[in-house]
């Protein structure tokens, strides 16, 4: 792309905001009542984080990986790609993240939670609660239709926030699992920004917070 400096983020917006939110509306209608299942999965993750079961990290990682894989296929590949040619790449990225979660959390069992969580881990839990319980309601609060709700486990944004929250809450950092969710926060934030969405800064703010706290935790452990 020549003269790349003359392009603005809005030059890459291929669709109208109305089309973007209709995408969620139609998607939600198509997959209903899967949203109930994924919300329950979110609650299950929260419950498991408080349990002492040795296998909890593996179950949480596997659950998250299934969500990422589902979003890669059902959302990005099947529904987002027709209006955004970049969504094919998003699908690949989400599938890679699913494999990373399986590798880190299921195969290597690195997703563990301290029985006496640190302040940073508690912030992670709070963000997770936000992703599961509050984020789906944000659109409604901002004047969008409830049918366009973005629900944890089936919509990218709350699932990415929940993943970052879990990685923050885990007692050992997993830096290899961070780049794709962080990149998505940037991309989604830019998309919403050029659509003049009121919640455009939410994901970049969450990403910045998680990045900052992750560095702080790493520094404290050195």
């Amino acid at each position: 792309m020549s003269e790349w400096w003359t392009y603005r983020p809005s030059d890459f917006l291929l669709f109208a905001p109305r089309t973007y939110y209709r995408l969620f509306e139609l998607y939600n209608a198509d997959i209903w009542p899967l949203q109930i299942v994924t919300l329950l999965a979110g609650v299950l993750i929260l419950v498991l984080m408080r349990s002492r079961a040795a296998w909890r990290g593996r179950v949480i990682a596997a659950t998250l990986a299934v969500c990422w894989l589902w979003i890669a296929w059902a959302f990005h590949w099947q529904r987002y790609a027709p209006i955004n040619w970049a969504a094919g790449y998003f699908a690949v990225g989400f599938a890679i993240q699913a494999l990373l979660l399986i590798w880190i959390g299921v195969v290597r069992d690195r997703l563990r939670f301290d029985s006496t969580p640190s302040v940073i881990a508690r912030i992670g839990v709070a963000i997770l609660v936000f992703a599961v319980a509050v984020q789906p309601l944000l659109g409604l609060l901002l004047g969008r239709e409830w049918r366009q709700a973005e629900v944890f486990g089936v919509a990218p944004d709350p699932t990415v926030v929940a993943t970052l929250a879990l990685l923050l809450a885990a007692d050992r950092g997993s830096p290899t699992a961070l780049p794709i969710p962080l990149l998505w926060c940037l991309l989604s934030g830019l998309t919403l920004w050029v659509m003049n969405a009121a919640d455009a800064l939410l994901l970049p703010m969450v990403a910045s917070l998680v990045l900052l706290l992750s560095f702080r935790r790493s520094a404290a452990r050195r």
Partner: protein, 317 residues
């Protein structure tokens, strides 16, 4: 301060012009208005062939990229129906515009089911880095549109133009394509653009032009006239920003002197009144807006003095 000598297919009388304007603004008499308007639309000849094109076309950037949403697709088909009913011909798209090509094909298919095929002047683009993959992309685009052939194919934003232009010119020579062009937007790569205009046998250029973005008047428009190249104007409303900005202000009294009933028509008439311009391609997903836009292809166009007045007025807003 107005001119009425610009290539109207059948210049209407003053009384008939008033009638047409009244019909154009009435929501209740669409078929009558449509047929009356289409018979009197302002048009411009394509310099390389003399074929007349209505000065207002239909773009599809963003507005027609609605994916598989059936309701939105039907709405776009309705926009197209109103566009053709009002006498519109030129529809422009690109492989870059997401699902827009498929949505245009859907709209044309619906129109075919309802009656005779729409008299579309199909303008599309080739937009792919590898020149060898150009023909495959063009064929995919043609299938999306579901037309026997394109009227115009343009190299989108000059991407790999050295490789695509020979392909398009060969298609034209073989009778698989009627016109060849190149595009840019928002003033990018104008120097290279001019070099291609000066050296290649192209029929069209597509550039951004509106009352506030007039850089193309300096070199590209004169070159187009000199080389007998048609000019298609994109972003006449600056992707909606310009019309949103001026719409806050009352319509100036002089709008009536150029038969404009709204700001959209003033902005469009400004764009198409430049003698180098063949047509403008505003994009919309609104039936009301496409009717408004087509109203810019009726009545008097601004002359040079009025064009200067429009610029001065809008720059002050």
């Amino acid at each position: 301060m107005t001119s009425n000598i610009h290539q109207a297919l059948r210049p209407p009388s003053a009384g008939r012009r008033r009638l047409l304007l009244a019909l154009a603004t009435s929501p209740f008499i669409v078929p009558l208005r449509a047929s009356a308007q289409s018979s009197s639309l302002l048009s411009r000849p394509i310099p390389s062939s003399g074929q007349a094109l209505p000065v207002i076309g239909l773009g599809s950037w963003i507005t027609f990229n609605v994916g598989n949403d059936r309701v939105a697709r039907d709405n776009c088909a309705e926009v197209m129906r109103n566009f053709f009913a009002a006498g519109g011909r030129v529809v422009d798209s690109s492989p870059m515009y997401g699902s827009s090509q498929e949505v245009i094909g859907y709209g044309l298919g619906k129109l075919r089911q309802a009656g005779p095929p729409a008299p579309v002047f199909a303008a599309d683009k080739v937009w792919i880095s590898a020149g060898a993959r150009g023909p495959g992309q063009i064929e995919t685009s043609r299938q999306h549109w579901n037309v026997p052939r394109f009227d115009l194919l343009q190299v989108h934003n000059l991407l790999s133009w050295q490789e695509h232009l020979p392909t398009l010119l060969a298609m034209k020579a073989a009778g698989e394509l009627r016109y060849v062009g190149i595009t840019t937007s928002e003033g990018r790569r104008h120097r290279e653009f001019e070099q291609i205009m000066a050296s290649q046998p192209i029929d069209f250029v597509q550039v951004s032009y509106n009352v506030l973005d007039r850089e193309v008047e300096q070199r590209i428009f004169p070159l187009a006239r000199e080389r007998r190249i048609g000019v298609i104007v994109n972003r006449p409303f600056r992707q909606g920003d310009l019309i949103r900005s001026v719409a806050r202000h009352p319509l100036p009294a002089w709008a009536a002197e150029i038969d404009c009933a709204n700001w959209a028509q003033i902005l469009l008439k400004f764009a198409v009144s430049h003698p180098a311009v063949t047509c403008a391609i505003p994009a919309t997903s609104s039936v009301a807006h496409v009717r408004e836009n087509m109203g810019a292809a009726v009545g008097r166009l601004p002359d040079e003095a009025m064009r200067r007045r429009i610029v001065a007025h809008v720059e002050k807003l």
